[in-house]
């Protein structure tokens, strides 16, 4: 009776322990292999902790290479300075235009990506026939696997000339183009996690809604989506986090001007593309080098928090059992 109350992990643990204890009694050669077991267990644990160790190393190196710039510039001038002239005789390291560019690109990309992703998620979870699902789901995963440099290349050679001609603007390499391409890249993340959330809403909730006379759309809109909302938020936050950190697309497509964006057709220079564009020319150990690492710190902190929030949301509200 007691066993029914224990979870399987516990039982397995017990079996292992008993088996091991039995063997020690039996003979010494097995005692030797028990020592090997212990050694391996320690070894596995050390490797198992390596992810935490690596995260720590990333922080150590980012901070040790990035913080020195704050001694030269000061945190306020760095974060809120509007001039980024890292290589001039009298260099300026104000990253506000880069932050503004990242925020603008991310907001616009989410504006495109969120509705499209939710549509796909609802389509897959509620509307599509099993046969269509089997084609559409892998297709969405294929989008996730296309290298970002390919999306950036497409934005450069196809979308940019098209925008330039169609909207009659100076350059097609701008905020709007970058947001479009980023939206495309964020769709798989948002769509697949939302779809999981929507599919995991218990059937009983929907049946109750149908029984009260609601049709399928009313049930989706008033019952299923609200019930899946925490999962959908997790999806959106992870998608946005991916957009903020994406580098190649904005490097190739956003235009690269380090000025405050005034319209959605202005060329801009988000944080990530700024690092990628300038690191090759920044002498190791110089102010410029430190400033680029400091931008890396900001990116790391932003995405770290977004991930913590996503993790919190997804573990906090989950349908228990069925």
């Amino acid at each position: 009776m007691l066993y029914l109350l224990m979870d399987t992990g516990d039982i397995q643990h017990r079996i292992v322990e008993t088996a091991m204890a039995e063997k020690t009694k039996r003979n010494t050669s097995i005692g030797m292999s028990l020592i090997a077991e212990k050694i391996f267990e320690k070894f596995f644990m050390i490797i198992g902790l390596s992810c935490l160790f690596i995260l720590m190393l990333i922080m150590v190196f980012l901070f040790s290479e990035g913080l020195p710039i704050l001694k030269d510039v000061g945190i306020n001038d760095f974060l809120f300075g509007t001039q980024w002239y890292p290589t001039s005789v009298n260099p300026r390291f104000g990253i506000l235009p880069l932050i503004a560019a990242s925020v603008a690109v991310t907001l616009l990309a989410s504006f495109f990506a969120v509705p499209l992703s939710l549509a796909i998620a609802v389509y897959l979870a509620e509307l599509a026939s099993p046969r269509v699902r089997e084609i559409v789901k892998p297709a969405i995963e294929v989008i996730a696997s296309i290298p970002s440099v390919i999306i950036g290349f497409f934005g450069m050679v196809v979308v940019a000339p098209f925008l330039q001609r169609y909207f009659n603007i100076d350059t097609g390499l701008n905020l709007f183009n970058a947001a479009l391409m980023l939206a495309f890249m964020a769709i798989p993340t948002i769509a697949s996690i939302s779809e999981d959330a929507i599919s995991s809403v218990p059937m009983s909730l929907k049946e109750a809604s149908y029984a009260l006379g609601a049709n399928r759309w009313e049930t989706i809109f008033h019952i299923t989506i609200p019930a899946a909302l925490s999962g959908i938020w997790t999806a959106i936050i992870l998608g946005i986090s991916r957009v903020i950190g994406e580098t190649m697309v904005v490097l190739m497509v956003a235009g690269g001007a380090a000025v405050m964006p005034g319209s959605i057709f202005d060329p801009v220079r988000p944080l990530t593309s700024n690092i990628a564009a300038e690191m090759a020319e920044a002498p190791v150990g110089g102010s410029h080098y430190h400033a680029l690492f400091a931008i890396g710190i900001i990116l790391f902190i932003i995405t770290f928090f977004f991930n913590l929030i996503a993790d919190y949301l997804s573990s906090k509200y989950k349908f228990k059992g069925n």
Binding site: Q12, I30, I120, S145
Partner: protein, 288 residues
């Protein structure tokens, strides 16, 4: 009453059509992007294109060094991420006893997965290139990509290990096998297809990532093929980026850029489809 019913029916129809159209737009975009690049670039593909060195400042000739470079980086990163990733997953599913520790490690893995690729590039530059003095090299790039890919391997392996029924382990242990024997002879072989999925996805990612290798491994142009772990290499994604944005022959080499893009797309899609097919079969086998 009837009109209200008719109205909600109409709304349902409109919304469902809208959802369908929006889904098809995204799929259409996928087909268009891949199709467009293949249409534009297939004429550049030839045996010479993939087997020869670049010539005339990369305006003619092939992309052999970029293909080889990407290949080396894939192998190198796999050597880093596969053993560490699999052992971490084994530890998490088979050994770790304290739930708090497991939770912290999982949180670490998901945060590592969320670190932007360009930040991995900075990390690789600071640690491997400068601090350990490997220089811009295959080894620095492989280590950077390997670290980047750890979460991919860990998650796939963990998922695969958790689907192996507990009865397999119990049967093995009750026959007198030790814990290690059980893991290596029973659990890992049963989980192999799932693990291979992770390996394929991570190889695809290593082939396609650009930002992490920009400052750690990739060179604009290398006259010779790499001869040691400490050589710089050309790589497919970086090659596309460089040819499309820098230099004096951007327009003239457009077809070569499309050609390189096709090779990269084919490589990545091939690796990913193998991975997805394996995963699909694995899940089906477990269910059936």
């Amino acid at each position: 009453m009837l009109s209200r019913h008719a109205r909600s029916e109409a709304i349902e129809k409109i919304m469902f059509s809208l959802i369908r159209v929006m889904s098809y737009v995204v799929l259409g975009a996928l087909v268009f992007i891949v199709g467009f690049i293949i249409m534009k670039g297939y004429s550049a593909i030839s045996w010479e294109f993939i087997s020869e060195m670049p010539m005339n400042e990369m305006t003619r000739g092939g992309i052999l060094p970029a293909i080889l470079g990407t290949f080396y980086l894939m192998i190198g990163s796999a050597l880093v991420s596969i053993p560490i990733g699999i052992i971490t997953a084994i530890y998490l599913t088979e050994y770790a006893k304290r739930p708090a520790l497991v939770k912290v490690i999982r949180l670490g893995v998901s945060n590592l997965a969320g670190v932007p690729s360009v930040v991995f590039g900075l990390f690789g530059l600071a640690l491997f290139v400068v601090f350990l003095d490997f220089g811009t090299s295959i080894i620095a790039g492989s280590l950077t990509l390997g670290v980047l890919n750890l979460p991919v391997i860990i998650r796939a392996t963990e998922e695969a290990l958790m689907t192996v029924p507990m009865t397999y382990r119990e049967a093995s242990l009750s026959l007198g096998a030790t814990r290690l024997q059980t893991i290596f002879r029973i659990v890992l072989p049963s989980a192999l297809p799932g693990i291979l999925t992770g390996v394929m996805l991570s190889l695809g990612r290593a082939a396609g990532e650009t930002a992490p290798i920009m400052f750690t491994a990739a060179s604009y142009y290398a006259p010779d093929l790499p001869d040691s772990l400490f050589s710089e290499v050309m790589a497919l994604p970086y090659h596309i980026y460089v040819m499309a944005t820098a230099g004096t022959h951007i327009q003239e080499t457009r077809h070569l850029q499309y050609g390189t893009a096709i090779i990269l797309i084919l490589l990545v899609l091939m690796l990913n489809s193998i991975g997805l097919v394996l995963r699909y079969r694995f899940r089906k086998r477990l269910k059936g």
